[in-house]
């Protein structure tokens, strides 16, 4: 099991949903007004809240997620620099709870990428032309093979994406990162002794 009990299956098969915008920041993904929670769960209803709802709580007409079908489309295709801004882990928690299992972008912000991998949300980084193809072909059938680090887009092709080997290993084998770190206790203590920490 991973820490949050979200043991990712090694291959995700799903359809895509497009939000073709660059620089989608974590304030958009989960606005700050919902960060006073002390829990991890239940944030899906606040995901992209400002895009989905007016200030008075009524639904917005031009909501970029209005056509999303969570049962079918569990892969979000965004523009570049997805997840920039705040380090809030509430962003991947909200996306997962909303129903997404992977995000495809041409570049991810570092902290968002780390936070996602720790929770089993797969950040898939591919070249701009693949993103452009997906944006031109809504609801594409894709598969994401975590062990092989491959994204297959229908008949368009198969593309490698970067994923550090340790994250891939943890995700596919259900290895707990904190357990792994705690096994290094002798090394940590030796370090503290060596540097008088």
């Amino acid at each position: 099991m991973t820490e949050q009990g979200k043991n990712s299956s090694p291959v995700i098969h799903s359809h895509t949903y497009n939000i073709p915008q660059d620089n989608i920041d974590t304030d958009q993904i989960i606005p700050a007004q919902f960060l006073t929670t002390t829990e991890r769960g239940g944030l899906g209803k606040f995901c992209f809240y400002g895009w989905r709802f007016n200030a008075d709580g009524t639904a917005k007409e031009n909501n970029p997620l209005r056509d999303h079908r969570p049962d079918r489309q569990q892969v979000l295709v965004a523009g570049s620099n997805f997840g920039c801004g705040s380090s809030r882990e509430h962003a991947p928690w909200a996306l997962l709870d909303y129903g997404f299992r992977a995000v495809i972008s041409s570049r991810f912000a570092d902290i968002f990428c780390n936070n996602s991998l720790k929770n089993g949300l797969i950040p898939v980084t591919v070249e701009r032309q693949v993103i452009e193809y997906l944006h031109a072909h809504p609801d594409s059938n894709v598969s994401i093979d975590i062990s092989r680090r491959q994204l297959t887009v229908g008949e368009y092709g198969t593309f490698q994406f970067p994923l550090d080997p340790f994250s891939a290993f943890c995700l596919t084998r259900g290895i707990d990162e904190l357990d792994f770190i705690l096994q290094k206790e002798p090394e940590i203590s030796a370090y503290e002794q060596r540097y008088s920490k």
């Binding site: 002390t38 380090s87 290094k184 940590i188």
Partner: protein, 476 residues
């Protein structure tokens, strides 16, 4: 050009090597030791809950330091001490961090502490932030502490749990980006204008995957408050961290602070800190040169911190960039036009970027003996209790209050708006904070990022204005 020797290394490389519990291998990331773990109420409750679930203790409570800053009201308490939280949930979050810190023996600066403040203001003030350290916090603006020659970066809540339990983090080695800034700054141009200019130049993803080192004559001439402003916004160009090599300015700032070393320990520490600089022959993975003499008072015109323009210059064309067109539609601005004379509704002076004493002095220098424009709401929020005391001791609070601004209690306040300090839908805020994302300062609020001098100038005129006119007027 000096000859590069194999032992030449960057400041970042030196800190990285010093903190390796285990080096990176083909299969696993490095295991990095963390010297200082800063904590606040927003990003820690789920981490403590995870420790509890596993039956783990905090490994080194002595290397943790906590505060309350995000969800805390900045209005004065009632006579009986009662605080007006925005929601019950906000109050519960503050109570939760108190309970967790007490249970694990972590020092927390709560309401009753004379040192409470925004986490990135308080750490340096206490001297807890020191050169050569690794510093993390569940907060992206942890990059601020890099101003002291520390390797400091934001982490997520799962990683907060890792550090609480093990004092270590798994980390892939980042790349390095050297940003050399040379030349004297023009009057009324500040570190805030420098970093806005840099983000505008390299873009909001320009630092992704990298640790930035800022160097050059402009950086050397900056005081610590300015260096903190510079490093603070490193994350806004996507960088993991920003750093400045420590020097006498750094040591003078730290000497005598409560958590700084003393006596012989101080001398030993300074001798070591003096070695923390990039060797002449070392190189960065990438490098950018900035001519500081060309920088003018700068503001953002769009919906991310890379959409930057000089305050009196025209907004660039959106023809080639859909995201600029979208941003301008949200902001209600036109490409090709200047922001000057755009009507402002709210001015916010505060945040971990610009709420230190020198920031408040700068704002007060313009607001002194002047009045805030009619109908404008101006919030001045000191970064910490220490900043508040120092500002009040020299009468800055009176300057702001007499001008018609609100002088509030320390906290993050309207930078993130979690505590209820927000702008109304559609309102235009000139803010000394760090993010102008859509709705950042309240649903449908619009944000222009600026320096304290520029924000103060806008407060007086009620319009987007350059501070240079006030400096000229005051010099006459």
């Amino acid at each position: 050009m000096p000859q590069q020797s194999p032992s030449d290394s960057t400041l970042f490389e030196k800190l990285w090597q010093r903190h390796l519990v285990m080096a990176e291998s083909a299969e696993t990331p490095a295991l990095l030791y963390i010297d200082l773990h800063l904590l606040h109420e927003v990003t820690t409750p789920q981490a403590f809950a995870e420790l509890k679930r596993r039956g783990l203790r905090v490994r080194r409570p002595d290397r943790c330091l906590a505060t309350i800053d995000h969800s805390t009201p900045t209005s004065a308490p009632e006579a009986d001490g009662k605080r007006h939280y925005v929601t019950d949930q906000a109050r519960v979050q503050v109570e939760t961090v108190h309970r967790n810190c007490e249970e694990h023996g972590i020092v927390l600066h709560g309401w009753d502490s004379p040192n409470r403040g925004i986490v990135h203001v308080m750490g340096p003030e206490l001297g807890a932030t020191q050169p050569g350290m690794t510093i993390v916090c569940g907060d992206s603006h942890t990059s601020t502490h890099g101003a002291f020659g520390a390797l400091a970066f934001g982490i997520g809540t799962t990683e907060v749990g890792h550090v609480l339990a093990s004092q270590c983090l798994l980390q892939s080695k980042p790349k390095t980006l050297g940003i050399r800034i040379e030349g004297d700054l023009a009057p009324a141009v500040t570190a805030k204008d420098v970093i806005l200019h840099i983000i505008g130049k390299i873009g909001v993803g320009g630092g992704t995957g990298s640790v930035i080192e800022y160097y050059g004559s402009t950086v050397r001439a900056m005081d610590m408050d300015s260096r903190m402003t510079l490093c603070n916004m490193s994350i806004e160009c996507g960088a993991r961290a920003g750093m400045v090599a420590p020097d006498d300015t750094t040591f003078d700032y730290l000497n005598g602070r409560p958590n700084a070393p003393r006596g012989a320990d101080w001398d030993t520490a300074v001798a070591d800190w003096k070695t923390l600089k990039t060797d002449p022959g070392a190189t960065y993975d990438a490098q950018v040169d900035i001519d500081a003499t060309l920088i003018r008072p700068s503001v953002t015109f769009g919906t991310h911190p890379g959409m930057v323009v000089a305050v009196d210059a025209a907004i660039p064309s959106s023809d080639a960039d859909e995201s600029i067109a979208d941003a301008l539609e949200y902001m209600g601005f036109q490409a090709g036009e200047s922001l000057a004379d755009e009507s402002v509704d709210v001015v916010f002076i505060g945040s971990c970027t610009n709420s230190r004493l020198s920031d408040l002095r700068a704002a007060a220098s313009i607001m002194k003996n002047r009045k805030v424009a009619s109908g404008l709401r101006v919030l001045v929020v000191p970064g910490s209790e220490e900043v508040r005391r120092a500002a009040e001791a020299e009468g800055l609070d009176r300057v702001f209050i007499e001008a018609g601004a609100q002088w509030r209690e320390p906290g993050c306040s309207m930078c993130i708006g979690m505590n209820g300090d927000i702008a109304a839908p559609g309102e235009l805020v000139v803010s000394t904070s760090n993010r102008n994302f859509k709705g950042r300062q309240g649903p449908l609020s619009r944000t222009i990022l600026a320096s304290p001098l520029t924000a103060a100038a806008c407060a007086i005129t009620g319009k987007v204005s350059s501070p240079q006119q006030f400096l000229e007027a005051d010099n006459d």
